[in-house]
Symmetry: C2
Subunit: 374 residues, 2 copies
């Protein structure tokens, strides 16, 4: 990537580590990327046989900072899962987390600089597919000298990336863990993401994608994130957590329709945090990728897509309260792996935290992943 100007640091953080993608890099739905890079972070040591590597894909919005590192000691998004003696045991494994292509945390994407022009790509960035995320993850591992992953895993969007990985690289991993992912977005999830994208697209500050980095379409991003936050949790959890508690303080009561309930304050905090760190065009790109992904494009059915998989074992996890990617979608993925002849374990989590349970219900996820990796 080219040099990063100060004003852009908000959304394009140069990750401590990155690798060059093959150049040119053709994308799954057409278009070619030149000079592409993928940012990653890692924990633990690659052994001499190079067969102890775990490749971790993220959801839509996180960076590769899944856990603290010497360079960045702030807690990562899966801090309680990755470390010595934790479920993803860094005293045993070399753990590699990649920032998805199309995202804005060091990997090439709409917010990064096009080396050919010295300007941000914006909408000139080629369309990104879930398959591209899978391939860029694999290319990152290969650039680090790893031809076969011990484990490829991911949750949410990352759970779908794992399925794409299995279809594209049947020999690429010994074991797979797909959490709260889907083989193809349902019309309900598509509808929700369509509204989120429209909120950004119709914000006058989007400017057809050409907003100034310091003046992004805040209102659209706020709405998109608030709606996302609603779909990431569950009504049952919120009933217990917020009930009808009023919002503390009167600061927000200035206007007649200002937030009044505690749950609205929670949405507000989530939205403001997101606006500060995420790039709107990147959001649009990855949101569209999630809608368009269909594992059945690879051979006509999920089963055909996975037919060649040489994975030895697969763990698929679904959460009963997941509204966005309901558990029957993970069941369908598990069934397809099984029909493809892979030893498959399907775990139904009774967590109340919905789609986000993997981030919150650590005791259950710790136990399931620890047992599978043991």
């Amino acid at each position: 990537m080219g040099p990063i100007r100060k004003a852009e640091a908000r959304v394009v953080d140069e990750a401590p580590n990155s690798v060059a993608l093959p150049d040119p890099f053709p994308l799954y739905r057409g278009g070619v990327l030149r000079g592409g890079r993928i940012a990653y972070e890692s924990w633990g040591k690659l052994n001499a046989a190079r067969n102890n590597a775990i490749l971790l894909f993220t959801g839509l919005s996180p960076s590769a900072h899944a856990a603290a590192t010497p360079e960045n000691p702030s807690p990562g998004w899966w801090q309680r899962m990755i470390g010595p003696a934790l479920a993803i045991d860094t005293s045993r494994y070399f753990v590699l987390c990649v920032n998805s292509i199309g995202s804005c945390f060091g990997s090439s994407g709409p917010a990064s600089i096009n080396p050919a022009t010295g300007q941000r790509y914006r909408l000139d960035f080629p369309e990104v597919a879930v398959e591209d995320i899978a391939r860029c993850g694999y290319e990152t591992a290969r650039a680090l000298g790893i031809e076969k992953l011990d484990v490829v895993m991911g949750a949410s969007l990352g759970g779908s990336v794992v399925a794409a990985f299995a279809a594209l690289f049947p020999h690429g991993a010994r074991r797979l863990i797909s959490i709260s992912g889907s083989g193809a977005a349902s019309p309900f999830a598509i509808a929700l993401r369509s509204v989120q994208r429209e909120a950004i697209l119709r914000d006058p500050d989007w400017q057809g994608g050409n907003y100034a980095p310091e003046h992004p379409p805040r209102n659209g991003m706020r709405l998109a994130r608030k709606l996302g936050t609603i779909t990431y949790r569950s009504a049952t959890e919120w009933r217990q957590r917020f009930g009808r508690e009023p919002l503390a303080g009167n600061a927000l009561r200035a206007s007649p329709f200002a937030p009044r309930f505690a749950v609205e304050g929670y949405l507000e905090a989530q939205a403001e945090r997101f606006v500060r760190v995420y790039d709107p065009n990147c959001y649009l790109y990855l949101s569209r990728a999630m809608d368009r992904f269909d594992l059945a494009e690879h051979g006509g059915s999920y089963r055909a897509a996975l037919a060649g998989s040489q994975a030895e074992r697969v763990l698929v996890i679904g959460v009963e309260s997941d509204l966005l990617y309901p558990i029957h979608e993970q069941a369908a993925l598990a069934e397809a792996f099984e029909e493809a002849g892979v030893a498959t374990q399907f775990t139904r989590m009774p967590s109340l935290e919905g789609h986000d349970a993997f981030l919150v219900d650590i005791p259950r996820f710790d136990a399931a992943i620890r047992a599978f990796l043991a």
Copy 2:
């Protein structure tokens, strides 16, 4: 109401019939309305004893036009339920449907003309509560000479209004039917409506509520309605109805993030229809009323609120696939009626159409209501 200018006909249709509210009319959360009116439509004939009247409350967005009338032969929003020999049998009952106070179809609300100024009320309209809707319905019946309703019924917001009616007017009705309503909004429903309101409030065209009638905050209203539409149905119904069908035609594919799936075309049609007929300020008022309603405000608990009810029989209906007002909320209402000593029937509908099932799954709702009224 004052004379209606041409440009305003879009949102303030003078209903064929309306009654004057008591003047002054104090509202539940403060403020007083002067010269208020409630629009209604009716079907069937009031008998000499005036004891065959059904009062029907609507959801958030419909008008009083629940079925065709000689004055307006276009189909109403519950056309298949109201008529001679239909479930709500107009050869037996005098059926009265009111446009909620705060709405924009002939009743006083933010979009109607303040007689004191000759201008639209806009945000000067006093805050509207679910209790006010109940009371205005009852005042309408009384203005027509009906002191006791045979049946008071409603669905969605109307289902909550029925509960408020029971608390406020324990002697007001012989029978009650509350469909897909709630005694108090859950934090999940509050969150969804909060995002809908924010979409309107942050649309620059909202103009602090002072938009020109011919230039409403279209983008915000579109987003609010699309999100509403998602919450009114169910993921299961949409999987069967839309799957991952592409959107027919290429008209909308002009931009890279334009709708691509059939489900997005459906949302688009719903949004455009809504923007044409509904007033944004009215939407904000009624949306807030739904959030703030809590039946337990009347005495400390649902049970206390309903303790004085002299209703002879109550039917509460919930739909198993309802995402917005989940069925445990109707179960709680039914339980409270029962504890208050009212003969209560609770019907669980296995319909797939979610919150909107009462509009769509006519066979089931016809049978349940027909049996209860028989």
